[in-house]
């Protein structure tokens, strides 16, 4: 009765199994289950399997109170990658431009500091964290469906990029359909793989808060990014802060929680020196503004304001969302 047989049986019956079940059906299944052929099939599809009892099974994940019986793995990286200091970056799927900017930045700078970024490949914050991390390092995605599926489908390309330098994990065998109840289960793996969990944006009772709760239960660090108190997207994160989560005011806060010294960022944007750029930048730092408003605030023509904004954006000093430009402080 191998662990792989349990995972394969779970896939066949649609159950969620952490231990070999005591039922005749399973015994019958084991008798006809050909582990060698199954592994060969996985290998042919570029997948592999790590059982819970395997030496290579990630130590942090084994330490949680309900670890999966094993994980299916896809990707080019070695499993040792999972032993690195790692941070889960999670949050709302329908996030705000602010949320996506913060998630991207956290992903990028954590990866640059050598931290493994873990998330769930979902829309919004998850995808931004993965994308940011891909710019400068490694990232791991945990799926809530069969390992062979890319869910959501729109992220197939992203999944391929993650797999190129990192790993994709799932406790579910190939062919398992995504189902709502599997995502909280997936979240426990996200939290379990990470030393600390950062919640970027979350509504009340959101999946990201489930991940944070699971992390707390396992005694892992939980951090939250402060948001506007008037936005639904900040209710969850601000509630976490109120309960004592560590606020994230910069990437250094996250690195400090992991005990890593933040190194200065060589690509950090420097404030503009050209008078026209500086004027436009100063006008968007405090509050996001559209071009028309900037024309009025600075007295510069629309064409030149647009040119200045494009230049600032290339230098990473301004981000645009839906026609509104927000200044970024260096």
């Amino acid at each position: 009765m191998s662990e792989l047989a349990v995972a394969a049986f779970a896939a066949e019956t649609g159950a969620h199994l952490l231990e070999p079940p005591r039922e005749p059906r399973f015994a019958a299944f084991c008798r006809r289950f050909d582990e060698g052929a199954y592994l060969a099939g996985l290998g042919a599809a570029g997948l592999s399997w790590v059982g819970r009892s395997d030496q290579r099974f990630p130590a942090r994940l084994r330490a949680i109170h309900d670890p999966p019986i094993g994980v299916f793995v896809r990707g080019e990286a070695e499993l040792e990658l999972l032993e690195r200091p790692s941070v889960a970056v999670v949050g709302a799927r329908a996030c705000s431009p602010y949320g996506s900017e913060v998630a991207t930045r956290l992903g990028r700078e954590l990866a640059r500091a050598g931290v493994l970024v873990v998330s769930g490949l979902a829309r919004g914050v998850d995808a931004c964290a993965h994308r940011g991390a891909l710019e400068s390092g490694h990232t791991v995605a945990v799926l809530g469906c069969g390992i062979d599926r890319d869910y959501p489908r729109a992220h197939a390309q992203l999944a391929a990029c993650v797999a190129e330098t990192g790993l994709i994990l799932s406790e579910y065998a190939p062919g398992v359909e995504p189902a709502p109840w599997r995502f909280p289960a997936r979240n426990r793996i996200v939290a379990g793989l990470a030393c600390a969990t950062v919640v970027v944006e979350a509504r009340e009772r959101s999946g990201a808060l489930i991940t944070a709760d699971l992390a707390l239960e396992e005694g892992r660090e939980v951090l939250a990014v402060p948001g506007e108190i008037t936005s639904h997207l900040s209710h969850g994160t601000n509630a976490l802060l109120r309960l004592g989560a560590t606020p994230v005011t910069s990437v250094a806060d996250v690195l400090e929680a992991l005990g890593i010294d933040p190194a200065p960022d060589p690509d950090a944007p420097t404030p503009p020196v050209e008078p026209r750029l500086a004027r436009v930048h100063a006008a968007v730092v405090d509050a996001p503004a559209g071009v028309d408003e900037l024309v009025r605030l600075t007295g510069i023509g629309a064409g030149e304001v647009a040119a200045a904004l494009a230049e600032l954006e290339l230098r990473g000093l301004v981000v645009e969302a839906a026609g509104l430009f927000r200044g970024v402080i260096a």
Binding site: R93, A94, R123, G124, P152, A154, H232, G290, V291, D292, E293, V295, R296, G301, A302, G303, E304, V305, A306, A307, A308, L309, A310, E311, L314, E320, A321, A322, G323, L324
Partner: protein
């Protein structure tokens, strides 16, 4: 051999091309009857009744013979009511109510009313061009069509009643004088002025650039911020059409029957705004005998598609051909036709189906999946056709109270100057600008197509600035008109 034969010449439309049609009327003794043969459609068959009443109302005699009217060539499909007048004249000539050679050198077109008055028909300009090519010098037509006929270089014989036409052909009435003056020359009066738009500096700037370079524009933003208001003002800053363009446009509008009566050449770039429920045939043209669609009516002007993702996918895909080639080819059972459709496309869309995204004062209720589906309705290929993509945020109160803005006429002068500048100068990307473009390509992972688009817009901006090469500032501004990340996913 019995009976008498008489003939008039008119022209049928095939697409926007004239095809010579001879109308033969044959009178025989026998039981009185009236038959029209030669692939005439329903409107054309009904000419019998109009001709009969029209002739009677003109105090002429409708012959009590067996009348056969043949529209030759018999294999060409004849549509519409423009054959009424030529049929009536042929019948009158066959019954000797007109001198035998009266119709020589003349063509005729027009619809008859039951009281004998002549009503204008679509395509008079094209029919007149056909007459000119056929070596005919005069065209008997309804008075309203006379200016169009004159444009084709054929002398119009305007008549408001069948009796007037007959009087002229009998020599009782002098040949008509010079055609009325080009009534539509002023033209720009009916177009809303940019001076009415408060604020919206960025959109005004983008429209000006679009007007100079003929770029397609996509306006993205929440509803109610004036996207339509802005788009309607684009024709007002486009320069007047030159003679060739004006004739092309007038021809298409004549065929479609959208010219106002008595109008001369269309000198102002047209603006067409079909509703999003329009079918592909309505947009690119179609029908059993192909007719021009909105895309062709917008030829040399602006095709405005409000709420772009709400249009049927088939319609949007059908637009790719004219956007690429400036021509629509329509093949139908009733014939095939190529319609010019070289238009400037202006589209609008929201950032999400509910429209609240990008609006700081509203909360979006769309799920990410719904937003994704909404955006997927716009194919990547179509999105790539928009050189200028503009995210327009909701303006704040104080912007709406801004001072009076520039008038369209003043902008139009600048546009014309910049176009001339473009025609004279070969604007290339300067060294510093090239470096900026390279940086942008790296940082934003611009595709080759996006890169070409940026350079194209930068060239237009440089022309507006009167520069001799593309400077970094021009290129940077061009970079700012790219699709927002929300659209490209």
């Amino acid at each position: 051999m019995g009976g008498v034969l008489a003939r008039t010449v008119t022209h049928a439309l095939v697409g926007i091309e004239p095809r010579r049609v001879e109308v033969e009327a044959h009178l025989q003794r026998g039981i009185p009857a009236f038959a029209i043969v030669g692939l005439a459609d329903r409107a054309c068959q009904e000419a019998k009744h109009r001709v009969r009443s029209g002739i009677a109302s003109a105090e002429l005699e409708f012959p009590g013979h067996r009348i056969t009217v043949n529209l030759a060539p018999a294999g060409l499909r004849k549509e519409g009511s423009g054959f009424d007048l030529p049929i009536a004249l042929a019948v009158l000539a066959a019954s000797h109510q007109l001198p035998p050679d009266a119709l020589d050198g003349h063509a005729a077109i027009g619809e008859l009313a039951l009281d004998g008055r002549l009503r204008p028909v679509a395509g008079a300009l094209v029919a007149a061009e056909g007459a000119r090519r056929a070596g005919l010098t005069r065209l008997v037509c309804p008075a309203e069509c006379a200016p169009q006929v004159a444009l084709a270089g054929v002398e119009p014989v305007p008549a408001s009643h069948l009796a007037e036409a007959v009087a002229y052909l009998r020599g009782d009435r002098d040949p008509p004088g010079a055609p009325p003056a080009d009534a539509d020359e002023a033209g720009y009066d009916g177009i809303p002025d940019l001076a009415d738009v408060r604020g919206q500096e960025r959109a005004r700037r983008a429209l000006e650039i679009a007007a100079v370079g003929g770029h397609n524009v996509l306006l993205v933003g929440p509803p109610g911020i004036g996207k339509t208001m802005l788009a309607r003002r684009l024709p007002g800053i486009l320069p007047r059409l030159d003679d060739d363009a004006a004739l092309e446009v007038t021809r298409i509008h004549s065929v479609a029957g959208v010219l106002s009566p008595g109008a001369g050449l269309v000198r102002v770039p047209p603006f067409r705004a079909p509703h999003h429920t329009a079918s592909a045939a309505a947009i690119v043209g179609g029908g059993s005998g192909p007719r021009p669609g909105e895309a062709s009516l917008a030829h040399r002007g602006v095709l405005y598609l409000d709420e772009l993702p709400e249009f049927q996918r088939a319609v949007l895909e059908a637009l790719r051909e004219p956007l690429e080639d400036g021509v629509v080819s329509v093949a139908r059972v009733g014939g095939r036709a190529a319609f010019p459709a070289c238009f400037q496309l202006v589209g609008t869309m929201n950032l999400c189906p509910c429209g609240a995204r990008g609006d700081p004062g509203a909360a979006c209720v769309c799920t990410p999946q719904r937003v994704e589906r909404y955006r997927e309705r716009l194919s990547r290929a179509l999105l790539d056709r928009f050189d200028l993509v503009l995210a327009v945020p909701r303006p704040r109160g104080e912007e709406l109270a801004a001072a009076d803005a520039e008038r369209s006429a003043d902008v139009r002068v600048r546009v014309l100057l910049a176009r001339e500048h473009l025609a004279v100068h070969d604007l290339r990307v300067g060294g510093a600008a090239a470096e900026l473009l390279t940086r942008a390509v790296e940082r934003r992972a611009l595709s080759a197509r996006a890169r070409a688009r940026t350079a194209r817009v930068a060239r237009t901006i440089a022309a507006l600035a009167g520069a001799t090469e593309i400077e970094p500032g021009h290129l940077a501004e061009a970079l700012s008109y790219r699709p927002p990340a929300e659209l490209t996913g």
